[in-house]
Symmetry: C2
Subunit: 115 residues, 2 copies
């Protein structure tokens, strides 16, 4: 399918679909015209990217994960480190939450002072 249709199907903008390709997350074929030609599995990849993006991962991390989660069989794990990567990202997120929480509390103290 062409890029416009994939965008419509997934809700990901055309701009971002091209960006995913640029960042090596996606490698669609090309028609003779030069138009990108996306397959069904490309669409699956895009949906995976969407999910992980919503989960707060950056494309760098997603790129690491993609080779692991693209197999049809979800139980087959070619990458020993899938879990490790996810856990690493979660730790990062925990740290970020902690920082934000500390900021929030500090702000709270200011507000109290303003009494």
């Amino acid at each position: 399918m062409k890029i416009g249709e994939l965008a419509r199907r997934t809700g990901v903008s055309i701009r971002m679909l091209r960006y995913y390709e640029q960042e090596d997350l996606l490698a669609p074929g090309r028609q003779e015209s030069g138009y990108r030609d996306y397959s069904e599995s490309d669409e699956i990849v895009v949906r995976r990217i969407q999910m992980l993006t919503e989960a707060g991962l950056k494309l760098d991390a997603i790129r690491e994960l993609l080779p692991c989660i693209l197999t049809d069989d979800p139980s087959f794990q070619p990458c020993d480190n899938l879990r490790a990567i996810l856990q690493r990202e979660r730790r990062k997120m925990d740290a970020q939450i902690d920082r934000l929480q500390a900021s929030r509390d500090m702000l709270g103290r200011y507000i109290d002072q303003t009494g």
Copy 2:
């Protein structure tokens, strides 16, 4: 005092001190040489900015707050909205924490699936 000394005293980089000025958070005088000439109260302002920055506020918000917190008397409140601004910022931060938390949980679910 000159910019270098203020930077040394506060730990804020020279670059950022100039940036604060550019963003209208600071308005140091000038020596005849053209060098910036910071006063004691300028240093206080910088420390205020530091605190609020650590509290996660952006310069836009800090600029709003500065006129309120620069008075010597902390109980004097020329701005009725000091508290309102702080609360608004805290609400923003709460929302951000919620989003991040949701992402973290989603990641947790992925990790569980990976069993």
